[in-house]
Structures are given as structure tokens and as C-alpha cells.
């Protein structure tokens, strides 16, 4: 095998076929594109979340303005102290006066900064949690077809990363208000103190703008690249964590490590480039600061010498110049925060805007708890992609209290039927009726409460066994839970767990065997106490003996309820009142076991395959049975 690999790899390299990507393969680059700095739609959408805190925000802005005013005032006070309180032989009271003013100014400054930071900090946190809640609750309603297509990791990064950058954005936008006013204030004060000197100092500004025009697009691109490679690397790391068992059993560690190294290396390079772009502005700004100060010293100094300017004004100018470039610098930073925020805002609104395809009709009825429990499919046509129907004209009826089985080759559409009963998806044609009502006319909540499902994949939550079985029925008593667990034969093994029903399950129930997980999810469906019970391969990973015990125990529990059962092991459903056979999304036969056996069609063939040893089966029968199934 090794040699084979060698030779194969040689020609593989030539035609450039790459090994499968080890990252979350679906990372989509366009997602990371930075938004405009200011997008009115997004801002107004986000503003809707800030709106409830409007008053607080207003006060925060007021506090910022006061704070800024104090920042402007302090050098002026110093100037006053120098010019009036310190001239040799000057009057002492001017100095005392100045100090008093200074004290007042810094007290106000303290209060303003305290108020501003508290308000902004708290509002930003509040808004962050509100946005997250809105998204999360929206995601509870969007249709499963959206969820099928979207990775959990991607949604999580919306709920966390993007929401966080909105928080950052809110904090900085209030600060930006302060920075901009400070900038304007400094300009005004300088021009007021000495118009000529002010103009001269400001002459450094255009240079800065020109530099920025060249710098900005490049820097922006490099920041963008860094952001993007970062999320690629994070995605790859997350995948390694989730898929670690598959990775180890397939021996993929070395290849994955190499691939990851490439991604991480690219990430390193983009970050270094971005750092270079970010830092290159430092000497430029410092040079301009130097030029401005030098100008003040030469020109202003000459005028001080010539007694045309108070020395205090010169000192104030020097102070202002140092404060002048701070807001410019932080505005530059805020600029990239804004960009990022706009992109995040875009992604957030994208999530919030996912259309809820399946929602309650305006006059949806509540499915009464005492409905009869019948289920009917009328000429149902359905496809996940409407162009490729998975169910074609399926019609059947399950009478109240009946147990009906769905069988058929893999991929024939059994699980899809079950999803339709619960209205996970809407049919394209025909109708699905529950209790005599079209499911589209019922509220989803009441429909859901009357249907309990055991899904093909037994998903369990982190938490105790007890919490898992009782799940949303928070009023269920311990007795009910234990009764359900006993019915499915889970009680014994649960009692063997370290803390019995209070044992904490690992992620997805990983510390239980698959069969045990299935039993717990079965018990969960029983506790839900619904009129209709849907079992999608509920006992596929359970031996027939345990299954038989379950069936015996269930007889009493399920009295008067309607049952829909999917199973590949036909022994499981032999006792069903009726058996519906699906193939390729079409209903090919239905009847009870005896009838179908007499029919000698697909069911009979599958049934025979089910027990015969395959060495005994004539090849032709295998061919036949399989050719009907493998097409699906």
C-alpha cells in the first residue's frame, strides 16, 4: 500500500489535486468582506436596539461633551495661571483663582468621565445582550431548511464575535463623538487664542490627510486579510475539536497538521502585514506633531520675544498640539472598528432577516389536546429542493389509535414524512392533516405538543439524565420520569450510573452507549405525553430482546395514542396495524404484514432478506432487491 501511495501521489501532485481541506470546508470568503464605514440601513437597524436606552445614551453624550470641554479648559486655566498669576510681582490671588478653577474643572471632569464610562459601558453590555437575545429567539423560529444549510459554528460566531464587535462599536461611537468635539474644540480655541499661529499649526493637517489617502486603502485591505485568515484558522481549530474521533481513527493527524500549519502561517503573515500598516502611521503622526511644535516655537517664540504674544499662549499651544493628534490617532483606530462593526452589523441583520418560511397562519387554530390523533397525507409532494421531489404524491391515513409502520429502502423518504407531520417543512403540493386539520392551519406550538418524536439521531443535552428525560415538560415529576425510563428499559442502567438520575451526561450524551442514548430519547418522548408518537428508528441500535420488552411495556402506555414507526428491522413493525412501503418517495404498497407477504412485492423481498443468511439468498434476488433500493 505504501508503494501504491507513493506512485499515486506523484501523479496527483502533477494534476494539482489537493488533499481535502482540513478546515471547516465551507468557510466562505465573501463573508469577511469589510463593510462600508457607514451604512445607513445597518446603523438604523442597530439603532433600534439602542432606542430603549435612548435617555441613557443622551446623558452619556452630554457627559462626553462636558468631559471634552474640561479637556479644552484645563490648558486654558494653565495659560491663565502663567500669564496672570506668575509674572514676577504678579498678584497672588490670580494664581489662587486659577487653582480654584482648576480644582472645579477636574472635579467636573471626574464626574463627567465617571458618568460617561458607566453609562456607555452598561448600555453597550445591555445592547449586546439584547441583540444576542433577538437573534437567538429568531433562530428558534426560522425554518429547518435554513438550519440544515448553516453550520452551528457559523451561527455561533454571529452570536458571539459579531455581537461583540457591535458592543465595541457602540462604545467607540460615543467616544468618537468626544474625539471629534475635542478636535473641533482645539481648532477653535487655537484660532481664538492666536489666529495666525493657529492657522500655521493647522497647516500640518493637510499633509496628514494626503498621507492617509494613500495609507487607508492598503491598510484596510491588510486588516481585512488578517481578520479573514483569523476566522479561517479558528474554523479549522473548531473542526479539529469536533471531529477529533474521526481524525484519529482515520490517521489524519499529520496531514491535518500540515494543512493547519499553512493556515496558521498565512494568519501569521497577514497579521504581521497588518501590524506594519498600523504602526507606520506612528512616526508620521509624530513627525507632524514635531513640525507643529517646531513652528510654534520658532514663530510663536519670536513673537513672545517681541512681546507680541503672551508666553502662556505659547505654552497652551504646545499643550494643545500634544492633545491634538490624540483624537486623530484614536479616530483612525475607531475607523477600523467602524468598518468591522458595519460588516458585523451586516451579518447580524442577515441573521435577523432570515425569512421565517414556516409561521403560524394569521388565524391559526390551537390543536385541542383531545383531538382524535389521526394523521393523513393527501397527495403530498415535497422536496428539500423543490426541483427534486423526495416525496411524490404520497397519500395515506392513520386512524386514531392506530399504529402504522413506514418501511422502505434507505433514502426513500421515511424520515422526511415524519418531518412533514410536525411541519418542519411545508409541502409543495397536497396536504398533511393532523386531527383532521391541515397542519398549516394550526399553531406550531400546539401541534408540537401533540406530537412526540424519537428522532433517528438521538441528541441529548449536557445536563442530568433526569433533566434530559423530562426536557421541556418541566412540570413532570420524578415518578413520571422513572416510569418512562422503566418502560423503555433504561431504568436499570441509569441506576447503575454514579448518581443515578442525577448523573450528568457528557456532551451529546457521549458517556453513554448509542443504544442507551436512544433509550433516553425514547423515554423523553414518552414523558412528553403526546397524542401522536413518532418513532424514527427508535430501536435501530437496540437488540430485539430489549425491544420486545419495550414493546410489551408500551402497550399500556400507548393505549389510545396514534403511533408512526419507522424501522429497517422488519421484525420491529410486524405487529403494526398497517404497513406502508415507500420507495423512491412513492408509496408502493400498504397493508398489514400478512397481506403484504401475500403480495410478494418489495416488502416481502425485504422481509425475506431480513432473516435469511445471505449465503442462502439466490444472487438474482439480491440483485433485484438491491437494484430497487440503491437508486435512492
Amino acid at each position: 500500500m505504501a508503494e501504491e501511495l507513493e506512485t499515486e501521489r506523484a501523479d496527483v501532485r502533477e494534476d494539482g489535486r489537493r488533499p481535502p481541506r482540513a478546515v471547516v470546508g465551507s468557510h466562505r470568503i465573501e463573508e469577511e468582506i469589510f463593510g462600508k464605514v457607514f451604512d445607513k440601513n445597518i446603523v438604523s437597524r442597530i439603532w433600534a436596539f439602542v432606542d430603549p436606552y435612548k435617555t441613557k445614551v443622551m446623558w452619556a453624550v452630554v457627559a462626553v461633551l462636558i468631559f471634552t470641554a474640561m479637556q479644552l479648559l484645563i490648558p486654558l486655566i494653565i495659560r491663565y495661571a502663567i500669564d496672570h498669576g506668575m509674572q514676577t510681582g504678579g498678584n497672588h490671588s490670580a494664581l489662587v483663582y486659577a487653582i480654584g478653577a482648576f480644582l472645579a474643572a477636574i472635579s467636573v471632569n471626574f464626574a463627567a468621565s465617571y458618568a460617561q464610562e458607566t453609562l456607555v459601558g452598561n448600555v453597550a453590555e445591555d445592547v449586546l445582550f439584547d441583540i444576542r437575545k433577538a437573534m437567538f429567539s429568531h433562530l428558534q423560529r426560522v425554518s429547518l431548511s435554513f438550519m440544515d444549510k448553516t453550520e452551528v459554528g457559523r451561527l455561533m460566531s454571529r452570536l458571539q464575535g459579531d455581537v461583540n464587535s457591535m458592543q465595541e462599536f457602540l462604545e467607540t461611537s460615543v467616544l468618537s463623538v468626544g474625539d471629534i468635539t475635542l478636535l473641533i474644540g482645539i481648532v477653535v480655541v487655537m484660532l481664538y487664542l492666536d489666529f495666525g499661529l493657529g492657522l500655521l499649526t493647522l497647516s500640518a493637517l493637510p499633509v496628514l490627510f494626503i498621507v492617509r489617502i494613500f495609507w487607508l486603502p492598503r491598510a484596510r485591505k491588510s486588516f481585512m486579510a488578517a481578520h479573514e485568515t483569523n476566522s479561517i484558522t479558528s474554523g479549522a481549530l473548531a473542526e479539529a475539536i469536533h471531529g477529533v474521533r474521526a481524525v484519529q481513527s482515520m490517521n489524519r493527524q499529520p496531514v491535518n497538521f500540515m494543512l493547519f500549519d499553512e493556515k496558521a502561517g498565512a494568519n501569521l503573515r497577514t497579521h504581521l502585514t497588518a501590524a506594519r500598516y498600523a504602526q507606520v502611521m506612528v512616526p508620521i503622526v509624530d513627525t507632524l506633531t514635531g513640525i507643529a511644535m517646531a513652528l510654534v516655537i520658532v514663530v510663536g517664540g519670536a513673537r513672545v520675544l517681541g512681546r507680541a504674544l503672551d508666553v502662556g499662549v505659547m505654552v497652551a499651544f504646545l499643550f494643545y498640539i500634544q492633545r491634538f493628534f490624540d483624537p486623530i490617532r484614536s479616530l483612525t483606530l475607531q475607523y477600523s472598528v467602524m468598518q468591522r462593526a458595519m460588516a458585523s452589523g451586516q451579518r447580524l441583520t442577515d441573521v435577523l432577516d432570515v425569512k421565517v418560511d414556516i409561521k403560524d397562519a394569521p388565524n391559526a387554530k390551537v390543536l385541542p389536546a383531545d383531538m382524535d390523533g389521526s394523521v393523513e397525507f393527501r397527495d403530498v409532494v415535497f422536496g428539500y429542493n423543490p426541483k427534486h421531489p423526495v416525496l411524490k404524491n404520497v397519500s395515506f391515513k392513520v386512524n386514531p389509535g392506530e399504529t402504522v409502520a413506514l418501511v422502505g429502502p434507505t433514502g426513500s423518504g421515511k424520515s422526511s414524512c415524519m418531518s412533514l407531520i410536525h411541519r418542519f417543512y411545508d409541502v409543495q403540493q397536497g396536504q398533511v392533516l393532523v386531527g383532521g386539520h391541515d397542519v398549516r392551519d394550526l399553531t406550531q406550538d400546539s401541534l408540537g405538543r401533540q406530537i412526540a418524536m424519537v428522532l433517528q439521531e438521538p441528541f441529548l443535552f449536557t445536563g442530568s439524565v433526569f433533566e434530559n428525560i423530562r426536557y421541556q415538560r418541566t412540570d413532570a415529576t420524578r415518578e413520571q420520569v422513572i416510569e418512562a425510563a422503566k418502560a423503555v428499559g433504561a431504568h436499570d442502567f441509569i441506576m447503575r450510573l454514579p448518581d443515578g438520575y442525577d448523573s450528568i451526561l457528557g456532551q451529546r450524551g457521549g458517556n453513554l452507549s448509542l443504544g442507551q442514548r436512544q433509550l433516553i430519547s425514547f423515554a423523553r418522548a414518552l414523558v412528553a405525553d403526546a397524542k401522536i408518537l413518532v418513532l424514527d428508528e427508535a430501536t435501530a441500535n437496540i437488540d430485539s430482546y430489549t425491544e420486545m420488552l419495550i414493546q410489551k411495556a408500551l402497550v399500556k402506555l400507548l393505549e389510545g395514542r396514534t403511533g408512526l414507526v419507522i424501522a429497517h428491522r422488519l421484525a420491529t413493525i410486524r405487529e403494526a396495524d398497517r404497513i406502508i412501503v415507500l420507495q423512491n418517495g412513492e408509496l408502493v404498497e400498504s397493508g398489514n404484514h400478512a397481506e403484504l407477504m401475500r403480495n410478494e412485492k418489495l416488502y416481502a423481498k425485504l422481509y425475506n432478506l431480513n432473516y435469511a443468511s445471505f449465503d442462502d439468498i439466490p444472487d438474482q434476488l439480491v440483485e433485484e432487491a438491491a437494484s430497487t433500493s440503491s437508486r435512492t
Binding site: 444549510k149 477529533v244 497538521f257 512616526p283 511644535m293 516655537i297 428491522r569 421484525a571
Partner: protein, 617 residues
């Protein structure tokens, strides 16, 4: 899957050296370890630290030059000399100031860039190391940790460590030089004024340390609460079908609200602590400035010092304000690095439970015989509870072993022991007489493949999923494996055939299609021992028969172990083991077991004979 390409090999060994470097220093303090990682980039670290000194020197020159300029402007330094001379002096000072500013900027740039660069390098190395470690940590570790918590470590904690060099280490130099020399210059100019100017430093230092310690504690707490929130969201989205199936949206919203409110309250508290701190720091700074202004003003009046000196004091203070505020950030960065580092290095330091023995050799397959000798096993999380007890059996090349048993009897556990996903706690497993603990893991896992009961599919194309274990496989081989697994025809019917991306964990496939995909993936590897762990449960009997007959071609080269509940899946096996409570309670061929009339017989009767009272068996 070795990488023989010489370029690739060099790259790989360089990367592995990084991994090694990141893992160095077990037992040393966290901050030492991070510092050592930084110093492994000697030139960049030196450049960062060197530039820090120079930048602070120029930084310190600026206030003095400004003070001098003020005095010169007033004609103080050069008394009654001619205006022209004074102007020349002003020009000289201005040029010096310009030079100092430019150099300060340049060296600040160098300082910032290189300290960030070192941080990014550390981040890169740590990422590689984490990735490598996570991939190799055994199942028992992953069983016990929530994936969300691991993700937090490799994303958030890693950031905390990465930022250490630039925000804590280099800044420590920067601040001590700036504050130290600044203090010296001021005090040596005027003792009283200098002390006054510096009076805010101890207060701020004390204040920020106290606050940062509180912030650190709440930060840890907050992170924990956020983790709970993350878990709630992640599991909700991952189990969305269950949520919908039980109409449990309200219940889930309640869970979310509770976790969310819990985190939010603490977040508010943190804002409070932080704000009280920064405002007080600013206030004390300005208060000190007021004092300098007052006392300095008096001194100027009495002619003790010049206005220029006062201006330079005030400028000094403005320059010091920023670093002193950063003192708090710096303490925070130290705290953050040490807590994040503790978790991160804790991960990197973990012993890998299942790893190569020093004397491990590659597996040499001769007979191809797998043997379990008195194997016992208990999961590390419940060491006193044996899940397998004295299991003995042997399987030769070409043989098929069937395994049946009730849920939780230990079938999957048994399967997972063969590729050493866990190590046995008693007895041994051998392949051709070689204890699997003495075989190099890589070679063992190439020879033993388990199709897992709930296999993980990657969010990528079908083709990539099939070729997962053999990424350089030819297309024909992929097609062949997929044909054997009865997947080929289905895939060809899809709009983009093998290029179709399967949804997360394969959601867009039916249960049986997912299982067939993982069978195809395993078939690519041509192993010596192949285990199917209940991997046809969602496949109808017809399709399964086709899979089995396709595999019969290879069956003679290997040991096949089939765990199944449907007896037709394994009744043809050479030997069938019935496992219960971790022990083999019956074994033999199908016929023998039927004749025995025990548990297997009972199963058989239930599945085969339509209307019998098999329950009494």
C-alpha cells in the same frame, strides 16, 4: 500518510520544533514560560526592548526641550542678548524638538511592531501546539471535556497569552524607564515640585493593582458564565431538531435568559469596578497637576524657577499620564496572561493517555490474527466499574466475527480497544502476537479501521469525506469505495455529484446515506482488521446485502468484525459472540448458538418467527 517530500519534511520539522518549543518548561511558572517563548525570537525581542529604551529617551527629551523653548522665548536664558541670537537659539531648539519627535516616532514604531510581531509568533506557535495536542489527546480526554470549553481555550485564552509580550512585558520596560527616568529628571530639577508631580504615581499604582485583582477574579467568573451561555446556545442549535420536535422553544428561551442574565449582571458589575478605577486615576493625576501648578506658580513668582521649567514639569506630567494609566492595563495583562496561560499550558502539558511506547515498532502482519487475551476495561471516568471483563477470543485472517448484545453491554467499547482509542486496563490485545501497546499508533490505526456507530462527517464535499483517510487517493478509488458502499448511484444522481457538500455532520443526508458514506470512507483504507460498529442499522436489508457481497471480495484478506442488532447482518459470521454486561456469555456459529437455545436463540426467534411467544425463552 507520511510526508516524504523533502521540502514538506523540512517545513514539518520546523513546525514541530515550534510545537516542541511551546510545550517546553513544564513545571515552571506560566509567565516564565511565556517569556521564554518570546526570547526564542531573540532578534525581534531585542529590537522591541532596545527600541523601547530609545523611544522613551526621546520621549523624555521632549518636555525638556519644550521648557527650554519657553524660556528662550521669554529671553530668560540668554538675558539681554540680541534678538537674533535668541531667534537662533529658538530655531535650534525647534529643530532638536523636531528631530526628537521623529526619532521618538520611529523607535515607537519599531517597539510596537516588534513586540506585536513577537506576540504573533507566539500565537502562531501556540496555535500549532494546541492543534497538534488536541488531535493527539486520547478519547478519554475528549470524553470528559465539552468542546466549547476547548474552543474557549484555543481562541480566547490564547489571545491572552499572545498579548502578554506587547501589553505586559515590553510595557513593563517602557513604563519603568519612562517613570523612573522622568522621576529622576524632575526630582533633580526641583525636589519639591518633582515629588508633587509624582505624587499620583503610588496612588494610581496601588489603586490599579487592587482593582485589577478584582477585575481578574470577576473576569474568570464572567468567562465561566459566558461558557454556560455558549453551551446553551450551541446545544440548542446543534439539537435544533429535538427542540422543534418537542416544541421546546419557550423552554430553551428560558434557559437562554437565565444564562444570559447571569452573565449580564456580572458584566455590569465589571463596568462599575473598571470605571471607578479609571476615573479615580484620572482625578488623582489632575489633582497632582493642580498641586504642581499651585506650588510651581508660587516658585515662579518668587523667581525660584522659570516658567519654562514649570511648563516642562506640566508636559512631563502629560507625557506620564498615558503610561501611568497604562499601569493598570499592564497589571491586567499580566493577570490575564497568567490565568489564560495556566489553562492553555495546562492543556499543552496534559499527558496523552494513549501514545507510542519508546520501543514501539511498526506492525508486521503475517498471519493477520487478532486476539483478545483476558481483556478487561473500565472507562477512566468510572475506574471501579468494569465495562469489559475477561474477554477472550481470536479471529484469523478471512474470518468474520459477529457481536451481538443488549445496549450498553460493551460492544462499542470492545471495538474501540482494537485501534487503541483506549488502553485496556487488564489483559492484552495482540495482532499476530504483537501487543498493540507495542505497535506504533500510526501503523496500528492504518491496519485497524472502525466504522463508528455515530460517525462524524465533515462539512465538505462527499469526495473529500470519502477520501478523508487517504487524501491523495485517485478518483477511481473513491468511486470504487463508494460503489462498494452502495453510494455511487445516489451520488451520481446529485446535481454536483461528488462535489456536493454534505451539511454539518451530514444533515442533508438520510440516516442510511450517512452510514454508507462512513462505510465508504473506511473502505478506502484497506485495513487488516475492519470493525463495523452497528453501522448498517439505518440501511435496509437489501442494500446491506449488496454492501456485504461487494466486500466479500476483500474479506479473505482481513479480519472482519460486525456488531449488529439485525441478525441477518451477522448470521453468516464464522463465530458470533453474545456480549452481556461486558462478558462473552455465548459464542459459536449461528447454528451452534441456535442449538444452544440461549439468549441468541431468543433474539433469533424474536426476529424470525412471526408469531411465537419468544418472550418466554
Amino acid at each position: 500518510m507520511t510526508i516524504e517530500n523533502s521540502n514538506g519534511a523540512r517545513k514539518l520539522s520546523a513546525s514541530l520544533a515550534h510545537v516542541h518549543a511551546a510545550g517546553w518548561g513544564k513545571g515552571l511558572s506560566i509567565l516564565t514560560r511565556i517569556t521564554v517563548m518570546a526570547l526564542r525570537h531573540p532578534w525581534q525581542s531585542a529590537a522591541a526592548i532596545g527600541a523601547t529604551f530609545i523611544a522613551s529617551a526621546f520621549q523624555l527629551m521632549i518636555p525638556q526641550l519644550l521648557g527650554r523653548a519657553v524660556d528662550e522665548a521669554q529671553g530668560i536664558t540668554n538675558g539681554g542678548s540680541a534678538a537674533a541670537v535668541a531667534q537662533d537659539a529658538l530655531l535650534a531648539t525647534a529643530l532638536l524638538l523636531l528631530g526628537a519627535s521623529i526619532l521618538r516616532g520611529l523607535f515607537t514604531m519599531v517597539q510596537n511592531y516588534y513586540s506585536e510581531a513577537v506576540g504573533h509568533h507566539i500565537g502562531y506557535e501556540l496555535r500549532l501546539a494546541c492543534y497538534e495536542k488536541i488531535q493527539r489527546l486520547s478519547f478519554s480526554f475528549h470524553d470528559g471535556v465539552h468542546s466549547g470549553d476547548l474552543i474557549t481555550i484555543v481562541l480566547l485564552d490564547l489571545e491572552g497569552v499572545r498579548m502578554y509580550f506587547s501589553t505586559a512585558f515590553v510595557r513593563l520596560f517602557f513604563l519603568s524607564v519612562l517613570i523612573g527616568i522622568g522621576a529622576y529628571l524632575m526630582i533633580s530639577t526641583d525636589l519639591v515640585l518633582g515629588l508633587l508631580a509624582l505624587s499620583f504615581v503610588p496612588f494610581v499604582g496601588w489603586r490599579s493593582s487592587v482593582t485589577q485583582l478584582r477585575l481578574r477574579a470577576t473576569w474568570l467568573d464572567l468567562q465561566e458564565r459566558l461558557q454556560v451561555l455558549t453551551r446553551v446556545m450551541e446545544e440548542n442549535l446543534g439539537g435544533i431538531r429535538v427542540v422543534r420536535a418537542f416544541a421546546a422553544q419557550d423552554h430553551e428561551m428560558d434557559k437562554f435568559e437565565a444564562a444570559s442574565r447571569n452573565a449580564l449582571n456580572l458584566a455590569h458589575q465589571r463596568v462599575g469596578i473598571r470605571v471607578a478605577n479609571t476615573s479615580a486615576m484620572t482625578f488623582s493625576f489632575f489633582a497632582a497637576m493642580g498641586l504642581v501648578l499651585w506650588v510651581g506658580g508660587g516658585k515662579v513668582m518668587s523667581g525660584e524657577i522659570t516658567v519654562g521649567t514649570l511648563a516642562s514639569f506640566l508636559t512631563f506630567m502629560t507625557i506620564l499620564q498615558m503610561p501611568v494609566r497604562q499601569l493598570g492595563l499592564m497589571v491586567n495583562a499580566f493577570a490575564r496572561a497568567s490565568t489564560c496561560g495556566a489553562r492553555l499550558f495546562g492543556l499543552l502539558d496534559l499527558e496523552i493517555a494513549v501514545r507510542d511506547d519508546e520501543k514501539a515498532a511498526d506492525l508486521t502482519v503475517t498471519e493477520g490474527t487478532l486476539r483478545f487475551n483476558n481483556v478487561s476495561f473500565a472507562y477512566p471516568s468510572a475506574p471501579e466499574q468494569n465495562v469489559l471483563q475477561d474477554v477472550n477470543f481470536e479471529a484469523r485472517r478471512g474470518e468474520t466475527i459477529g457481536i451481538v448484545g443488549p445496549p450498553g453491554s460493551g460492544k462499542s467499547t470492545l471495538a474501540h480497544l482494537i485501534p487503541r482509542f483506549y488502553d485496556v486496563t487488564g489483559g492484552s490485545i495482540t495482532i499476530d502476537g504483537q501487543d498493540i501497546r507495542k505497535i506504533r499508533l500510526k501503523s496500528l490505526r492504518r491496519s485497524v479501521v472502525v466504522v463508528q456507530q455515530d460517525s462524524f462527517l465533515f462539512t465538505t464535499t462527499i469526495e473529500n469525506n470519502i477520501a478523508y483517510g487517504d487524501p491523495w487517493a485517485k478518483e477511481q478509488n473513491i468511486a470504487r469505495a463508494s460503489e462498494s458502499a452502495q453510494l455511487h448511484n445516489y451520488v451520481l444522481g446529485l446535481p454536483s455529484a461528488y462535489g456536493t457538500v454534505v451539511g454539518e455532520r451530514g444533515v442533508s443526508l438520510s440516516g442510511g446515506q450517512r452510514q454508507r458514506l462512513s462505510i465508504a470512507r473506511a473502505l478506502m483504507l484497506k485495513p487488516t482488521v475492519m470493525v463495523f460498529d452497528d453501522s448498517t442499522a439505518a440501511i435496509d436489508a437489501g442494500t446491506e446485502q449488496r454492501i456485504r457481497s461487494a466486500m466479500r471480495r476483500y474479506a479473505s484478506d482481513r479480519v472482519t468484525i460486525i456488531v449488529a442488532h439485525r441478525l441477518s447482518s451477522l448470521m453468516h459470521a464464522d463465530r458470533i459472540l453474545f456480549i452481556e454486561g461486558g462478558q462473552i456469555v455465548e459464542q459459536g456459529t449461528h447454528e451452534e448458538l441456535l442449538a444452544m437455545g440461549g439468549r441468541y436463540r431468543a433474539l433469533y426467534d424474536l426476529q424470525i418467527r412471526p408469531d411465537d411467544d419468544a418472550m418466554s425463552a
